[in-house]
């Protein structure tokens, strides 16, 4: 039933994209397309939600006579798929709602409207697919449509470059997955997932498939060092698309990873978890460090996606480790943590990108150094953005904290693992997780403080006003979700139980059992957390204190200029900028990771020109891996190029040589 509804929704989305093609010419097209997308995604969302909550076995698979002739296209919805369908369509619905307002400012409608619904549909298809061909088909189609959206504003040179890097990386990933499926399917070509599950896989196969899946899904999700396209492509797209790409598409990649490695490949082996954990920890830390060095709001958010993907994969890696040693309860805990974070990140990352989009439409500016004081201009939007910041910084009582807390709890179970490498690795991973969490908080103090607080750093801010109601509705809806998932995590965990039961044959204790909506990973005596209670306490304490203060203390209040320490300055330039805010952390970490160099040139006495502080950063990944590859390809291409400037005689002699060579081979062979 569910799968049928979902398929119809996909079909409807594709139809809408055709509709967009025709109606894009008129302004009303925006309303039609996004309205339709909103409705359809909402339907799909509820269908999936019901499926997820109701639980039960997977739907019988539907086979359509499309795609590979003798295989057909298989569709199926099990708990895992249902969960990700919820994530996708939640993102899709909110993004469409947001776009109802945001889309009005779109200058290149005819380059956005046709592709947006198709993009949504493709993401749904990936999750619905139940055979390799359909999966890859939708996967690549997803990349293609999102590429088109990235290229929407193609006149900006940087966007074209972003689109290029993106699509090349995407097809690289697809190729890797293609090889992986080739291994899983075997030479006979058993392309259905059912056949792959049934087949036994040799250790070598397993290793190869894991590596290839890491390459394939990792390049989509943004695992270091395959993340380079992410900060280029996500900001280039219109903001609601950035939200989808960052908040949802990366999750589809995570889905692909889980589906292939945990579901199709069968129980993992311990070393696989080591690989995943190492990569994940590196990703989390590097991602947040990149973000700290970044002053473009949307790029910063994109880098944070990298970080959060790292956190998610840490959870997955832990799940592998526990699963490999049959500690199913622990594996379930880790997996739940990862999936919970998938949900959370999709929610607050979309929220943050919406906020960034609101800022961008208000000011036509993404560079934080030009912003500031927006909290006065757009109070509501900034409130919603603030909620997002708190959530992504993993602070209680919001949802970001819960998933990280669960991850920590999973890490604390690791001493029971017999394997020594893991014993040493996992605590280190925990430390890196804690470090990246703290750095993330620092980064969002920067992001919110510089963008919304302080005084306007340039004139662009003055033209900004409160954003439109649709956008606000979308943002506050997500913000309230952040809060709800934070104070009532038990429900989410319960919903995930059947899923983990399928994948790691274990699940966390049923949370509704524990009193007051507290969540208990293993046992109450071991650890528990009650978001609701904490929230209530904080609220009470705040209200109490406020009330008390207002009763006891004087109400007198005087507005006055900020204290200037005796230096009367009018200039807003004296404020801390994003760059200067990040300076201490840059000194601590940047010098190691990015070879950050600061060069200060102070003019000689008497020279009135300002002193210049120049900071240069080097992207280790790009300069270490990608630039050399590009150079190599270019060089070999140039070298081969000479072969089209030979004389006819030259070509003839090549043919001649080939002939003689083959004849010689025959002569020697026979």
């Amino acid at each position: 039933m569910t799968v049928v509804i979902e398929l119809w929704c996909v079909a409807a989305l594709l139809i809408v994209s055709v509709l967009g093609l025709t109606t894009a010419r008129w302004r009303v097209g925006t309303m039609i397309v996004y309205g339709a997308c909103l409705a359809i995604s909402a339907i799909a969302l509820f269908a999936a939600l019901i499926r997820l909550v109701a639980g039960g076995p997977a739907t019988p698979e539907i086979v359509l006579p499309l795609g590979l002739p003798w295989v057909g296209t298989h569709f199926r919805v099990d708990a895992l798929a249902a969960f990700f369908l919820v994530v996708i369509n939640l993102g899709g619905a909110t993004a469409s709602l947001y776009a109802l307002g945001y889309g009005r400012h779109e200058t290149a409608r005819q380059r956005v409207l046709p592709f947006y619904p198709a993009f949504l549909g493709a993401m749904n298809l990936v999750v619905l697919a139940d055979d390799a061909f359909t999966f890859l088909f939708s996967w690549e189609f997803m990349s293609l449509t999102s590429w088109a959206l990235v290229m929407a504003h193609h006149r900006v040179a940087s966007n074209v470059r972003a689109g290029y890097v993106y699509l090349v990386m995407a097809s690289f990933g697809t190729m890797a997955l293609l090889l992986a499926f080739g291994l899983l399917a075997g030479p006979q070509g058993g392309y259905t997932f059912a056949a792959m599950r049934a087949e036994f896989h040799a250790p070598l196969t397993e290793a190869l498939v894991l590596a290839l899946t890491l390459l394939g899904a990792g390049s989509k999700a943004g695992l270091v060092p395959l993340h380079v396209w992410l900060p280029l492509a996500h900001p280039a797209a219109p903001s609601h698309v950035s939200a989808l790409m960052s908040g949802v598409m990366t999750k589809v990649a995570v889905y692909g990873f889980i589906r292939i490695v945990l579901d199709l490949l069968g129980p993992p082996s311990w070393w696989s978890s080591m690989v995943v954990l190492t990569l994940a920890a590196a990703t989390a830390l590097l991602g947040v460090l990149y973000a700290l060095m970044e002053h473009d709001l949307k790029r910063l958010l994109a880098y944070h996606t990298v970080e959060n993907i790292g956190i998610i994969f840490i959870g997955l890696g832990l799940a592998f480790a526990f699963r490999a040693y049959g500690m199913d309860a622990a594996a379930a805990l880790a997996l739940t943590a990862a999936l919970f974070h998938v949900f959370n990140h999709s929610v607050f990352k979309s929220l943050l990108f919406f906020g960034a989009g609101a800022v961008e439409t208000g000011t036509e500016e993404r560079d934080m150094e030009q912003l500031g004081g927006l909290i006065h201009r757009m109070p509501l939007a900034s409130l919603a953005f603030l909620v997002g910041c708190v959530a992504i910084s993993a602070l209680p009582p919001l949802n970001g904290f819960v998933s990280e807390w669960l991850t920590f709890q999973a890490i604390l179970l690791s001493p029971a693992l017999p394997q020594w490498g893991l014993k040493i690795l996992i605590p280190a991973v925990g430390a890196m997780l804690a470090l990246s969490a703290a750095l993330a908080a620092a980064c969002f103090v920067k992001a919110f403080g510089v963008t919304f607080l302080g005084r306007p750093r340039s004139a662009v801010v003055s033209q900004a006003g409160e954003t439109d109601d649709f956008s606000l509705a979308a943002m506050f809806f997500l913000a309230s979700l952040c809060l709800l998932a934070g104070i009532l995590p038990g429900f989410v965990i319960n919903a995930l139980a059947p899923l983990t039961q399928n994948l790691v044959s274990g699940h966390m204790p049923l949370q509704s059992a524990s009193s007051w909506f507290a969540i208990v990973p293993i046992t109450a005596s071991r650890s528990s957390y009650d978001g609701l209670l904490v929230f209530v306490f904080i609220a009470l304490a705040a209200l109490l204190s406020a009330a008390a203060i207002h009763r006891l203390a004087s109400h007198a209040l005087r507005r006055a200029p900020a204290w200037d320490c005796g230096y009367p300055d009018a200039s807003v330039r004296t404020q801390y900028t994003a760059g200067s805010f990040a300076q201490p952390i840059r000194r601590v970490f940047g010098t190691v990771v990015f070879q950050a160099r600061e060069s200060l040139t102070i003019p000689p006495p008497g020279d009135a020109s300002p002193a210049v502080l120049r900071v240069e950063l080097h992207d280790p990944v790009w300069e270490g891996i990608y630039a050399p590859i590009a150079r190599a390809v270019g060089a070999s291409a140039d070298w081969l190029n000479r072969f089209q400037f030979l004389t006819i005689r030259g070509y003839l002699s090549i043919v001649f040589a080939a002939l003689v060579l083959l004849l010689l081979v025959l002569a020697l062979w026979l």
Binding site: K423, A434, L435, A441, F448, G449, A541, S545, Y576, V588
Partner: protein, 305 residues
Amino acid sequence: MLLVLLLAPALVGLVGKVKARLLRRRGAPILQPYRDLMRLLRKEVVLADNASWLFRATPYLIFATTWVAAALVPSFATGLLFSWSADLIAIIALLASARFFLALAGMDVGTSFGGIGSSREVMIASLAEPAMIMVVFTLALIAGSTQLSTIAAFMASPAVGLRVSLGLALIALIIVALAENARIPVDNPATHLELTMVHEAMVLEYSGRHLAVIELAAALKLLLYISLIACLFLPWGLAPTGHGAGTTFVGIISYIAKLAFGGVFLAIFETAIAKMRVFRVPQFLGAALMLGLLAVLLRFVSASL
């Protein structure tokens, strides 16, 4: 909860007094902080022109989160009401959110001071928190729980022997505590010299009742850390759950004694050591992080032996 609220300023006063004595000054009376708070409450609030609603809301948020956190630490008895509602990690996170808002408030007015304070604060925090988490790991792994009451009960029990990792964790915890409470050598609560100040720079724009609330929150935080150290590393005299009045009384007395001891120790330490440059702080905290990690690793290894 009220108990910690009442005790907090006294602790600050005590520290000040002892420091003064060590410097051969008479120093302000121990109750001085209460008077300061009262005076601040009576004063009018001078609000910068540019201050936003966030700026005014922050003090209460900070106070609330810190208070909740402090209330969750078993002061004189384990298994207090609702102590299960948040574990050690949650407590750290609560303090982190308090800091988050404080740093934001520091940037709100848009002066360079607030910026200095915030950026240095988050830099310090970004190292202090992981170190703290590591300490938590160590304890949690030893006690097999992250519930403070459980840990405390376990530490009180004879089951816990003398462990290297515990020692390392203690040192790390102390370092973190110093950093978190903006004490010398990381920060100097008494100075207003912009090159060195961190915490004070952030709250520079606050005045009147807002400042009072923030000061109180700071005092609470100090109390929290000391009682944390106390209940974790000298958990004696903690009244067990389901306790009679007598044990409770003993618990309270011992608790106050511990606080006093902690305060004195802090004062001595502060007078004995000098403030360090801001950019030497990372090494200092990095050391804490390393100690914590080392402790955890040792713990992992020993656990598997």
